[in-house]
Structures are given as C-alpha cells and as structure tokens.
C-alpha cells in the first residue's frame, strides 16, 4: 500500500517548525506504524536527508515511549493501542496521514515528533513512592490484600506514562496520569501511610508544571492505551480535599 505522510518537522525547541510531505510505497498491511516510519527514515538516509526523529523503545506496547498524534488522534485511530501496536492495515491505501507531536506547553518539542515528557518524572518524584526500610524480603501474605484491591491497584499501575491523556485533553490536563499514579498506592495498604501527603505533593507538582484543569470530558480515558479509568480522577479530587481539610499538616 502507498501513503502520503504529512509530518511535523522541527529542528529544535527554538525552531518554529512546519509540515513536510513524504511518500512511502509498497507498505504491507502487517507493517506496524513505527516500522513504516523506519522505512521512511531509511529512504531519507539513502537520499542524504535528515531522518524524522520520533520516540520509541520496547515496541511491545508497554514502555510508553512512542507518542505521535496521528490523523487527529493520540496514538492513531484505534482504542487501547500504542503507536507501536498500530498496523498499517488500519489506513486506507493511497490516503494521507497527518503526524504531529504531542501538543502541550509542559511537553516542549525537542525535535520533530519527540517531546520532553520529564514533567511527568518530576511529578512522580514529588510523591509516587512509599518509604520503607529495605531489608530482607518480607514473608509472603504478611499484609493481607483482597483480590479486588490488588486488581484495582494493578489497573491504575498499568499507566505507562505515555502522555496520551495530556495530548488528547482539550485543556492539556495531566489529571488521568497523576490520579493513576496516586491510585496505585492509595488502593493498597502499603500506600496508606503517606497517602494524603503524597496527594498534596503530587497535585502541587502537577500544577507547578503548568498542566491545565480537568473538565471531565473523558477524552483521556478514550485515548489511554491502557484504558485507565477517569474514576481515579474523582478519587484524586476526593483525596486532595481530604488532605487539605482533614490533615493537620500545613504545606510550606
């Protein structure tokens, strides 16, 4: 199959950037989107042109590196799919595919389709951990956890931090990401000790990075490749209120 690609090219963060059209030919339907991009880059290298820079790592849908806003959708048109797990059979032969980087001020473009998502790392560093003494491994089942709680926490922990929630949100809100990172601890007994302090710290870090507010459009849930539920956002809101009103700690 043949495609026309309209790709956002931007030399560096300071460059204004623009779309450039490319043609790729004889692409098999079983080719993944990133493999198709590799084919394009090989052509560019052969021609002596600068290849398109884009993030990728595991190509198994679990690392969260691949981004790309494809034809107006984060990670392309399919649900529960990262760009690396998106196949060319989903695109009509002869069609034009428009590829843009994530657009959000806290995710500045580094080059072409690569954005700097270290804002997510800083939010995690603000509280996405539990404090404990690292010794020998504790006995199994020392802390009883119900199957339901374990499953619910795991559901939240599935977040791969790809940033599709921010990219898809009309407000560039990071609420889904932050709430998932909070919920994976808040739903387990080990997460209770620092639960409210963690919520205060991470919400403040989220705001400090300049992400927008949540309008409950649920676009994030629809675009999340891991299907993280917006119910976690409600829990974050609840915990943030509790942390402010009930905790005796006063934030500096």
């Amino acid at each position: 199959m043949n495609y026309t690609l309209k790709i956002w090219r931007q030399k560096n963060a300071a460059d204004s950037g623009s779309f450039v059209s490319y043609k790729v030919e004889n692409i098999d339907g079983e080719t993944s989107f990133l493999e198709m991009m590799d084919v394009l880059n090989q052509q560019l290298v052969t021609r002596g042109e600068e290849p398109v820079a884009y993030d990728h790592d595991c190509r198994e849908g679990v690392c969260g590196m691949c981004s790309m806003y494809i034809n107006g959708r984060a990670h392309g048109p399919n649900e529960l799919t990262t760009t690396c797990q998106l196949y060319m059979r989903h695109f009509k032969n002869g069609s034009t595919i428009i590829i843009e980087p994530w657009r959000a001020k806290p995710f500045p473009v580094i080059k072409d389709l690569m954005v700097d998502r270290s804002a997510f790392d800083r939010i995690q560093q603000a509280g996405a951990y539990i404090s404990m003494n690292a010794g020998s491994a504790p006995d199994a089942n020392n802390i009883m956890i119900s199957k339901e709680a374990a499953d619910a926490a795991f559901e939240a922990a599935e977040c791969i931090g790809c940033g599709a929630c921010v990219a898809a949100c009309k407000n560039s809100s990071a609420s889904l990401f932050v709430s998932a990172k909070l919920a994976q601890f808040a739903l387990l007994p080990q997460g209770q000790v620092e639960r409210y302090q963690r919520t205060l710290n991470m919400v403040q870090a989220m705001d400090a990075e300049g992400f927008g507010s949540c309008s409950n459009t649920s676009a994030c849930e629809a675009e999340c490749p891991k299907g993280i539920s917006v119910k976690h956002i409600a829990m974050m809101n609840r915990d943030y209120l509790k942390a402010t009103m009930c905790s005796e700690k006063v934030m500096s």
Binding site: K105, M206, M236, N237, R238, L241, T244
Partner: protein, 225 residues
C-alpha cells in the same frame, strides 16, 4: 491560612468552587422552574404574583439570594481563570483534531455555553429581577406586585421569546455535562451511585429545558393564535 489559599488556587480547588456553585445553581433552578410554571395557570398571574410576593418577603429566601448571587459571580470568574490557564497549557494547537470521536460536544464547549448563559442572566436579571424588586410595577387584584404583566409585556416581543428559547437550549447542553461533571469534581464517584447521579442529571436537564422553554413558547403560541 496559606493551606486554604493553596487549595482554592489549585486547579482542583478552583474546579471544586465551580462544582459547588454550579450544583447550587442547579438546585436553585428546581425552585425557579416550579415557581415560573405558575405563569401557565391561566389566572392572569394572580398565583404567580402571590408566590413572587412570598419569595420577596421571606427572610430565609433573602439570605439564600446572597449565596445565589455569589454563586453567579464565583462560577464564571473561576471558569475564566481556568480557561486562561488551560489555553496557556497548549500554545500551539493541532493541525487536525478529531476530539469529537473521544468526547461529547457539550463537554468541550462548556465555556461558550456558559458565556451564552451569562449574557442571558445579565439581561434576565436586569429585566425581571431589578424591576420586580426595585421597579415601579402595578398592583394586581389581590394587591400583590403585578410581575405577571411585566412577563407578558416582555414576551409580547417575539424576538425576546425566541432569545429565551435559544438560551434554554444552551442551558440544556450546559447541564447535560455539568451536573455529572460537578459530582465527579467533588470526588463523588461511586460504582453504585454514579449511574443514579447520571440518570438524575439527564432527567433534570430534560425537565429544565422543556419546562423553561414551555413559558416563552406558551406566550409565543398565544401571540400567533
């Protein structure tokens, strides 16, 4: 009290303010619609005027009125602050966006819908509330202020009725997302109760839209016949 400032200037805290004021306004609309439907009784507004008189002279209502006006100010002010922040969070937009595939139209246009409602409220309050409370209206057969005649006069202008109908449609779209969203913002999301809240939200939205539209529509139809 820096912790209260921290909360109410955070994105979640501002949404909390929008949520409680918005839900209070929804609560108010139940009362407002119930009272306004008295206009359709066909008794030349005697019951409606008596009801308006009771409301105007009830001290509890006068106190709640202050909360009402505060809500009408806080809700749009917080919306403006957050909208400005949200716009700043995406300086460069997408060349192509298929937001319609992942979210509802109403949820993405709450600001525009809210702006229509704000313009409506300024005109509505200036025309009815100010003249009912401070204006020099006549007296009806029971000796109450004749607000009914003011209503009839206003809706005798077809454009005024049509403008009201348009604004109530905007209200419907605003509430179909707003009521459920308000509960989620407060953190009141529960597997058992959220579907109930959703259903109540839809029922209230339909009731408000049809109920409020019925009043200008009634006067419009009367004018045509």
């Amino acid at each position: 009290m820096s912790w209260t400032k921290d909360y109410f200037t955070s994105t979640i805290g501002r949404k909390f303010l929008m949520s409680i004021t918005g839900l209070f306004l929804v609560f108010f609309l139940i009362e407002h619609l119930a009272g306004n439907l008295l206009l359709l009784l066909g008794d030349h507004g005697l019951t409606f005027n008596a009801y308006s008189d009771t409301m105007a002279n009830n001290p509890i209502i006068r106190i709640v009125e202050i909360i009402l006006f505060l809500s009408l100010i806080i809700h749009p002010v917080q919306a403006l602050i957050l909208t400005q922040r949200n716009r700043g969070a995406r300086k460069t937009g997408y060349a192509v966006s298929k937001a319609g595939e992942t979210s509802s139209w109403a949820s993405r246009n709450m600001g525009i819908l809210g702006s229509i409602l704000f313009v409506f409220l300024v005109l509505h309050i200036a025309n009815f509330f100010v003249s009912a409370r401070f204006g020099d209206l006549g007296i009806d057969a029971n000796g109450n202020k004749d607000i009914y005649t003011k209503v009839v006069d206003s809706f005798s202008m077809a454009w005024y009725s049509l403008f009201y109908i348009f604004c109530f449609l905007a209200l419907g779209f605003h509430l179909i997302h707003g009521i459920l969203s308000g509960f989620k913002t407060l953190g009141l999301s529960h597997k058992k109760y959220l579907p109930v809240v959703k259903s109540i939200g839809i029922i209230l939205t339909v009731l408000f839209t049809i109920g409020f539209i019925s009043i200008p529509a009634y006067f419009l139809i009367n004018m045509i016949i």
